[in-house]
């Protein structure tokens, strides 16, 4: 324990207990360090914050809005994507609107209906098991379009340490080396709006505790399509490993970075092409969104 206050969380590596004030300070300092060391934010940047209203993006917006005065001429715009999921998205959008009001952040809301003319529930009839991939493709596109329209040059996402470790394991299980080492950072900025992940060094549990002790934890319903996700199985497997063998998630990410250094450039040496339908950067003839549109008849 650092001080005499009641601890709210026990962290490992190193093993320690933190009170609410020290937890808040540590989480914000670690996010600031990640941003500083990886040079994620530079003077005059306009950052689009991918803001669903869930816990990770809530923590991201709170932390970035608190750090904002320490950066020279940086501005934020929060972007919420309404996929159109009945009984789920309405609450999170309300939570998103409330927090942006509190933090004084500009807020833009875009929908799948605007993007492809139908909501996710309609698009998924008869193909529910593909929910996460369909949603992921359209959400990335909706975010990019909204960020571009808002004049943002980077998109900040709330991916945390657990998400990053899960992605490494999922891509390994799928045997997808290109995706394992793919980067959406500044190297590809001529084609994509670069993504930054300021919370990539903070665990999901630390984020949840950080919000809870400030009465900011969003008690929201679970996405009804989650049960179809491979990530759900991977998450459960990895968190059991992490509990038994602390450091498992960090080690996975370390391995990914080592592979990236060794083979990243070779795997990614194929030049990016332009989609013959919409002109967006892609690796084949058509981008994923246009392929999806074609398969959905949109």
């Amino acid at each position: 324990m650092i001080c005499g206050e009641q601890p709210v969380i026990r962290l490992r590596e190193p093993d320690r207990h933190l009170c609410a004030a020290h937890l808040i300070a540590e989480v914000e300092e670690r996010a600031a360090r990640t941003i500083r060391e990886r040079e994620l934010i530079k003077p005059h940047d306009r950052i689009a914050v991918a803001f669903s209203g869930g816990k990770d993006s809530t923590a991201l917006l709170v932390i970035l809005s608190r750090l904002l005065p320490s950066w020279e001429d940086v501005s934020l715009v929060a972007i919420t994507v309404d996929e159109g999921i009945a009984g789920y998205r309405d609450d999170t959008i309300r939570a998103a609107e409330e927090l942006t009001r509190k933090t004084g952040t500009e807020h833009v809301c875009v929908s799948f209906k605007d993007l492809v003319g139908a909501d996710l529930d309609t698009l998924l009839v008869g193909r529910e098991t593909q929910a996460c991939s369909v949603c992921g493709i359209l959400r990335r596109k909706a975010l990019s379009v909204a960020a571009h329209n808002a004049g943002a040059i980077k998109i900040a996402t709330g991916h945390n340490l657990d998400d990053e470790a899960q992605s490494v394991l999922m891509n390994t299980l799928r045997g997808d080396l290109p995706r394992l080492v793919r980067t959406s950072d500044a190297d590809s900025s001529d084609c994509f709006i670069p993504r930054i992940k300021p919370l990539a060094d903070i665990s999901e549990k630390e984020i949840a505790a950080y919000l809870f002790v400030q009465d900011l934890f969003p008690f929201l319903p679970e996405c009804p399509y989650t049960r179809y996700a491979l990530r759900l199985e991977v998450r459960s497997m990895l968190s059991a490993m992490e509990q038994k063998h602390p450091g498992t998630m960090r080690n996975l990410i370390k391995s990914k970075r080592a592979i990236e250094k060794q083979v990243g450039r070779r795997v990614m040496s194929e030049p990016l092409r332009r989609c013959r339908q919409c002109g967006d950067p892609c690796s084949g003839e058509l981008c994923q969104v246009c392929m999806l549109r074609a398969s959905l008849g949109k």
């Binding site: 601890p7 969380i9 809870f212």
Partner: protein
């Protein structure tokens, strides 16, 4: 002691004060996937709970 589960169902546990980590073990819940409050205040898994205290288990993982 009253336990409130992530799905809002409740259960009353009687007996000696016990470590929260032990309660989670007994319920088959991985501590990495939840945070726990005791009478509304967040506590670590090695905190002790008993008597009339209210323990709330909050699931932290959402989304796909």
């Amino acid at each position: 002691m009253k336990i409130i589960f992530p799905d809002s169902t409740t259960e009353t546990m009687v007996g000696e004060p016990v470590r929260i980590g032990r309660i989670l073990d007994r319920l088959g819940i991985n501590p990495s996937e939840v945070i726990v409050s005791r009478n509304g205040k967040l506590v670590p898994e090695d905190a002790i709970a008993g008597g009339d205290e209210v323990i709330r288990i909050i699931r932290i993982a959402h989304g796909g």
